[in-house]
C-alpha cells in the first residue's frame, strides 16, 4: 500500500535544508514559498532518501485571496506519495518558477494551469494557451470568471 508521507514528516526533512522556505505543514501537505519551489522539487527528485521520480499531478485551486498550486509527487521506488502546495497571492499576473526542468511531465500541466487559472510559470519553455484558443480572454477556471455575453441573440442571430 502506498505510504502517504504526511506534511509534517516532509516539512521536518526539508527544514534543515531549506529553512524559511518551508512555510507551513499539516497532515495532508506541506506549504513551500513560491520562490523556492523549483529547488525543493529538484531536491526531492534527486535525493535518494526521497526519490520522487514521478510528478503525479500539478494543478491549482483558486481561493480568491490567493491561488494554491498543488504538486502531487510519487516515489516509485519507495511506493510513497506526498503533496506540496504553494500559495501564490494576487489576481493580476500571479507567478512562480516552473518545475519543467525537474519533470518533463509538468510542461503540459503548467500550460493548462496558466490557460485555465492564469497562474504563470517563469522559465516555462512554451507557455501559451492549451485548451482554449489564442486570443481567448480571461481564465475560465477562476472563481470570478464571467462568460462574455453572446454577440447575437438566440434564436434569430447567427
Amino acid at each position: 500500500m502506498t505510504t502517504a508521507v504526511t506534511g509534517h514528516e516532509l516539512a521536518d526533512a526539508l527544514r534543515e535544508r531549506f529553512g524559511e522556505a518551508v512555510v507551513d505543514s499539516t497532515d495532508g501537505a506541506v506549504w513551500i514559498a513560491p520562490a523556492a519551489i523549483a529547488g525543493v522539487c529538484a531536491f526531492l527528485r534527486e535525493d535518494e532518501a526521497h526519490d520522487y521520480a514521478l510528478l503525479s499531478s500539478l494543478t491549482a485551486v483558486d481561493y480568491v485571496e490567493y491561488f494554491e498550486v498543488v504538486y502531487r509527487l510519487t516515489s516509485l521506488s519507495r511506493n510513497a506519495m506526498t503533496v506540496l502546495k504553494v500559495r501564490v497571492p494576487g489576481r493580476d499576473g500571479p507567478s512562480l518558477p516552473t518545475v519543467t526542468p525537474v519533470w518533463r511531465g509538468a510542461e503540459l500541466q503548467e500550460r493548462e494551469v496558466w490557460d485555465l487559472m492564469g497562474v504563470s510559470f517563469d522559465g516555462h519553455p512554451n507557455l501559451k494557451r492549451l485548451l482554449t484558443w489564442e486570443g481567448f480572454e480571461g481564465h475560465p477556471l477562476r472563481r470570478d470568471y464571467l462568460e462574455p455575453p453572446l454577440p447575437y441573440t438566440w434564436p434569430h442571430g447567427g
Binding site: 500500500m1 499531478s57 511531465g105 510542461e107 477556471l141
Partner: protein
C-alpha cells in the same frame, strides 16, 4: 548534386480519421522525415471541471462518463472513490466487487478498441481486427446494459457503492462472455502479433526510455511497456484489488509493439480478476445507505486509480457545501501526451500515426 530542401509544416487534424477524435498534430517535415511535432488540443474542451463546481457531487458522476467515453466505468469509480475518501465512507463488499467486475470488463473494452485501431492505423487489413475487437466489445456492452441500462454513459458507480445489484440473468451472461473471451483474445493476438508486417512496422519504432517515461509522468500501459512495473491497483489497492491475484505485464523495449502487447496481456489479467471476483462475491447490500445526502466537511481528497489509460484521479476540494469547490481531473490521456515530440521526431509520417495510436488516448479525457 544535392537539391535544396525546405521544411514543410503540415497540419493533420482536427478532423482526420487517424487522430482518434478532434486532435490536431502540427508536424514539420524534412522530406518524409518529421523534424518537429506539436500536439494542438482543446477542440473538445467542455469545461468539465468548471461544470463540476456548479453541480452536486452526485451529479458530477454523469460528467465523468463523458471524460473517457470508451471507459466510463473506471472514470465513475475514480470519482466516487475520491468522494468516499472525503467523508471516510465504508462501501459494502458486494458493491466493491461489482465495481471491480465492471471496471475490469471496461478495461477489456478499452484495450480491445486500442488494439483494434492499431491495425487500422498500420494501414490495410480492411479493418478486420477492428471488427473482431468490436464484436467482443459489443458483448461486454450488452453486459453493461444489463447492469445499469446504459452502454457507454453508464454512471454505474455511485457514492457508497453501485447503482443497483446485478440482475439474476447477468451472471450466466457474464459466464458465457468469460468462457469465450480467452479464445477471442488468442485469436486477436495471433491476428495482430504473428503478422510479419506488424512486427517489421512496429518493433523498435518510437521507443521510450523508462527514466524519461517516469520523468514525463507517463502512466498506465505506456509506462509499463517501457519496463516500469507500476500499477496503482498493486501500489495502492482500492476497492477489492488487494483480494485478487493478478500480474502486471511489462514490456522490454517501450516501442510501439510493446505498447500494444502489454494491452493484450492486460486483457488476460482482467479476465483473471473478474473470475476471482465471481468466486469471492457474496450476497449483501450493494450500497451504503447513508450516502443519499452528500455534504462532506471542508477538506480535500485524491485517490489514484489505474484506468485503462493510466493514473486517473480526481482532486476534490470541499468547502462544506453540496458542490465541490474544485474538481480537478488528473487525466492520463492528457498527460501521456507529454512525450509527443520525442516519440515522433526522426520517424516518418506512417510511423507517427501508429505511435499516436499506441498512446491510446481519448480526446474526451484529453480536453475535458
Amino acid at each position: 548534386m544535392t537539391l535544396r530542401t525546405e521544411p514543410v509544416v503540415v497540419s493533420i487534424g482536427p478532423h482526420h480519421p487517424s487522430t482518434h477524435g478532434v486532435f490536431r498534430m502540427r508536424l514539420t517535415f524534412d522530406g518524409e522525415n518529421i523534424i518537429d511535432a506539436e500536439p494542438v488540443i482543446g477542440y473538445l474542451h467542455r469545461g468539465t471541471e468548471k461544470l463540476a463546481e456548479e453541480r452536486q457531487y452526485t451529479q458530477v458522476i454523469t460528467l465523468t462518463d463523458r471524460l473517457d467515453y470508451v471507459s466510463s466505468m473506471t472514470s465513475n469509480q475514480a470519482f466516487v472513490l475520491s468522494c468516499e475518501k472525503l467523508i471516510g465512507l465504508e462501501v459494502p463488499d458486494r458493491g466493491m466487487y461489482l465495481r471491480v467486475i465492471a471496471s475490469e470488463l471496461q478495461r477489456i473494452v478499452s484495450h480491445l478498441i486500442g488494439v483494434g485501431f492499431f491495425l487500422q492505423e498500420l494501414g490495410g487489413f480492411g479493418g478486420t481486427a477492428l471488427m473482431y475487437a468490436f464484436r467482443e466489445r459489443e458483448r461486454i456492452l450488452d453486459l453493461f446494459e444489463m447492469l445499469c441500462g446504459a452502454r457507454i454513459t453508464v454512471s454505474y458507480s455511485r457514492i457508497g457503492g453501485v447503482f443497483a445489484d446485478a440482475p439474476a440473468d447477468f451472471w450466466p451472461a457474464l459466464r458465457r462472455v468469460l468462457d469465450d473471451m480467452p479464445g477471442y483474445t488468442d485469436e486477436l493476438e495471433a491476428l495482430v502479433f504473428e503478422s510479419e508486417i506488424v512486427q517489421s512496422r512496429t518493433k523498435g519504432v518510437s521507443p521510450i526510455d523508462p527514466v524519461l517515461a517516469v520523468n514525463a509522468s507517463l502512466t498506465g500501459p505506456v509506462l509499463r511497456a517501457s519496463g516500469v512495473a507500476w500499477d496503482w491497483r498493486k501500489a495502492a489497492p482500492y476497492d477489492v484489488y488487494d483480494r485478487v491475484d493478478f500480474d502486471v505485464p511489462v514490456g522490454a523495449n517501450g516501442d510501439n509493439y510493446d505498447r500494444f502487447w502489454v494491452r493484450i496481456q492486460e486483457v488476460r489479467q482482467s479476465l483473471r480478476i473478474v473470475e476471482q471476483c465471481i468466486e469471492q462475491i457474496e450476497p449483501g447490500p450493494v450500497r451504503a445507505t447513508d450516502a443519499m445526502l452528500f455534504r462532506p466537511p471542508p477538506g480535500d481528497s485524491y485517490v489514484p486509480t489505474e484506468s485503462p489509460k493510466g493514473e486517473l484521479g480526481f482532486y476534490l476540494v470541499s468547502d462544506g457545501s453540496i458542490a465541490p469547490y474544485r474538481c480537478h481531473v488528473r487525466a492520463p490521456s492528457f498527460i501521456n501526451l507529454s512525450l509527443f515530440k520525442e516519440m515522433l521526431v526522426g520517424w516518418k509520417l506512417a510511423d507517427a500515426i501508429v505511435s499516436l495510436g499506441s498512446l491510446d488516448f481519448n480526446m474526451g479525457e484529453v480536453d475535458r
